[in-house]
């Protein structure tokens, strides 16, 4: 749509332009960026992943509010994948036929993969905000961009932080027992850990690996096995419910390792974990990307979240979900057009410094993957997830070894 500038508008525009250019992040775009880009947001809002999906949806709702206020013209259409890949696929098709310019989603790797195929086939760009299966960016797709660490990256970055933790607390554990959930995520992490352990120069070795069913409602056997291994540290890859079950059993069975450390899995920082376990949730450590406590934009985001959703922890899921929309808004601003090819070029050139998660600017490599997503060391202190390392992002000092169960305040 052409927009003919009158002389009066030109004068006003020149004056406004000066002001506009001075504002951060806004590059001159006098045409077409008035029309918002239509984003199709796919999340599992029902089905067995409903809890997480609804958590992410909160971040989406914040994005709908905050991003237009910051000058990004976006319009969001929400869709529910129902935690099923077939539904993810048909919903993606539906959104595209309703005219969305770009897709974002979808948390679960299986569903994300289905959507990626549709996106690639139809030539619609797809920004993955959460989804860790490495295979997704290994298919040679041209329309897929992922701003989330692969499980391999999570494992590598997570393991790297162990040495930082030991150095900061002057400890040197010799043995570890590893409890892993037997699902896609857990198994890819396990593979990664096994491959990385020899090169990571860690002072401890894994004496036993215990793999358990994600649907397990009772982890007493597994914890008993772990306790019997008599290792210094208890390393875990869990989801939320099993993390709660596990810690409860550890308390009941009076199993007190030096600490519970996750190289990068969900669970031990989510709202439910702290709510249910109370004081026993404290001191659990997860090495994972997190909201940067020292960054000003992240601060704004965190504050807005806390006001809108008091009592809900702002997790990395929320942060990455939001960043997905930020990336799209930013690319659209630079592209000036919502056409797929223009967006793809703009996305490739992404370089966002004012972001939410810890780490350098958001960029994508030639496979569409952001490889600049380090993990921080996150420890629950006084019921709140707190970044304790690396020092440049930390809000408090790490506590390790952790106090025994009976000694908790």
């Amino acid at each position: 749509m052409t927009y003919r500038i009158t002389r009066r508008e030109f004068g006003l525009g020149a004056a406004a332009g000066g002001a506009v250019l001075a504002a951060p992040g806004i590059i001159g775009s006098a045409h077409a960026a008035n029309k918002p880009i239509k984003i199709g947001s796919l999340l599992p809002r029902s089905g067995y992943e409903g809890i997480i999906g609804q958590g992410c949806q909160r971040a989406v709702d914040l994005a709908k509010r905050m991003l237009p206020e910051m000058g990004y013209a976006i319009e969001v259409v929400d869709a529910d994948t129902e935690s099923k890949p077939e539904v993810a696929r048909t919903q993606a098709e539906k959104l595209i036929s309703e005219g969305v310019d770009i897709l974002v989603g979808a948390f679960d790797s299986g569903q994300t993969f289905s959507i990626a195929q549709v996106a690639e086939q139809r030539g619609v760009p797809f920004v993955i905000n959460i989804g860790s299966d490495p295979a997704i960016t290994e298919q040679g797709y041209k329309f897929i961009f992922r701003n989330f660490p692969t499980s391999v990256m999570l494992g590598t970055n997570g393991l790297a932080r162990f040495n930082d933790l030991f150095a900061a607390t002057h400890t040197s554990p010799k043995t570890a027992v590893l409890m892993i959930v037997n699902d896609t995520f857990g198994q890819t992490m396990l593979k990664g850990i096994n491959a990385l352990m020899p090169k990571a120069n860690l002072p401890f070795h894994i004496v036993e690996t215990i793999s358990y069913d994600p649907q397990a409602k009772d982890l007493s056997i597994e914890v008993a096995k772990a306790k019997a291994a008599k290792a210094d540290i208890h390393m875990v890859v869990t989801r939320l419910n099993d993390a709660i079950l596990m810690v409860r059993e550890m308390v009941k069975q009076r199993y007190e390792p030096m600490g519970i450390i996750s190289p990068g899995s969900p669970g031990m920082y989510q709202t439910q974990f702290m709510k249910v376990l109370g004081k026993y949730a404290d001191y659990a450590i997860t090495n994972i990307p997190w909201i940067d406590p020292k960054q000003s934009f992240a601060h704004t985001f965190q504050a807005t979240w806390d006001k809108a959703y008091p009592g809900e922890v702002c997790t990395l899921d929320a942060g990455f979900t939001f960043e997905g929309f930020l990336i799209i808004g930013d690319a659209y601003k630079r592209a000036g057009s919502a056409k797929p090819q223009a967006m793809v070029e703009a996305l490739k050139a992404t370089n966002i410094k004012d972001r939410i998660m810890i780490g350098g600017p958001i960029t994508f490599n030639e496979k569409g993957q952001n490889v600049n997503l380090p993990s921080g060391v996150l420890q629950i202190q006084h019921g709140k997830p707190t970044v304790v390392l690396p020092e440049q992002y930390s809000e408090a000092k790490p506590v390790f070894p952790v106090p025994g169960w009976s000694k908790r305040a």
């Binding site: 029902s46 139809r122 298919q139």
Partner: protein, 332 residues
């Protein structure tokens, strides 16, 4: 489990069928990709339902673990493709063989030991779940990490390797569904079909008449399993990712049987009608409830609809429908 007796298709039914096929063939040219992808789901449902109909609808043995064969067909063809570059047109028959063996084994074991009715149904669930957990640890096919098929250039269709657009799969699935329909019609009018129905109606009487009940039941199961596995193979190449939890899930088994029961168990067109109705119901629900953001609302309506149909039309919708639109005289 009442189905109509063996008949030839009446002229009116044949005409209606021809009309239906014509519409289906032309549809992708006039409908958008979303509709096509929904129809692919419908066709998969119809195909699986019809395959299942053979052991449960025609022969009267309730199998609640049919996802087992979907999974076996899917994993066999996918694994052979990923590891040995074997064309799906060879891999899928291999999957059918694996499933037929599994089905025969389960049937033979069960019927040899006189396990029938509800117990047989539970046995099929047990086998399916057992294999699912086995595959959770089967590293060669990815275990819980999943098996991914390399997705090549999707710009053009490659029927030889089953790589292509939803439209290509649509036509394959349409052919499959019509094929299994034709096969069922054929078998129902042959001796083996009569034997199956006799077993369904009164097993003891059939046995007394000299029918080799055991052999017939195992054959029905093997055929049903093999056909289901063929569909599983196509599913693997359509989805391009496989996880034991979704391939072998109990939820899938239940999905497979819902359409044919709603449509009309033991009838020829029941499964297809059921598939269309259920999927439309599901999509309508999604559209209706999309503004309301209440998790579970869609499932609630689904369950209520199911309840209504079971309460009011227990033989399924097709028997009632064909009475209403006057195809009764000799149609199926």
């Amino acid at each position: 489990m009442r189905g109509a007796g063996p008949v030839a298709l009446s002229p009116r039914t044949a005409l209606a069928l021809a009309g239906f096929v014509a519409i289906m063939v032309v549809l992708p040219f006039i409908a958008n990709d979303y509709i096509v992808s929904v129809l692919v789901v419908v066709l998969f449902s119809a195909y699986f339902g019809q395959s299942w109909n053979i052991i449960t609808g025609f022969t009267g043995q309730l199998s609640l673990g049919h996802a087992l064969y979907v999974g076996l067909g899917a994993y066999t063809s996918a694994a052979l493709f990923v590891h040995f570059d074997l064309s799906p047109w060879l891999g899928m028959p291999a999957g059918m063989a694996v499933a037929a063996i599994a089905g025969s084994l389960i049937a033979a074991l069960s019927f040899r030991f006189r396990v029938g009715g509800v117990y047989f149904a539970l046995l099929t669930i047990a086998f399916s779940e057992f294999v699912r957990i086995l595959f959770d640890h089967f590293k060669w096919v990815g275990a819980t990490e999943g098996l991914f098929l390399p997705v090549a250039n999707l710009a053009h269709d490659d029927p030889l390797h089953l790589r292509g657009s939803p439209t290509m799969f649509y036509y394959f699935l349409l052919a499959l569904t019509l094929g299994v329909l034709g096969l069922s019609h054929l078998l129902l009018n042959r001796r083996v079909g009569y034997y199956w129905q006799a077993i369904r109606e009164d097993e003891e009487a059939a046995q007394a008449l000299g029918i080799d009940v055991f052999r017939c039941k195992v054959m029905a199961m093997a055929l049903s399993a093999a056909l289901t596995a063929l569909g599983g193979g196509f599913l693997a190449f359509y989805d391009n990712n496989l996880y034991p939890d979704t391939a072998f899930s109990l939820g899938r088994s239940i999905e497979i049987i819902t359409a044919p029961i709603i449509g009309g168990l033991g009838t020829l067109f029941g499964p297809i009608l059921g598939a269309f109705l259920l999927t439309s119901l599901g999509e309508t629900m999604t559209n209706l409830t999309s503004g309301w953001e209440i998790a579970g609302l869609k499932q609630w309506f689904y369950g209520a609809a199911l309840l209504l149909i079971v309460a009011l039309l227990p033989s399924g919708i097709w028997p009632w429908l064909r009475r209403v639109i006057g195809l009764e005289e000799s149609g199926r």
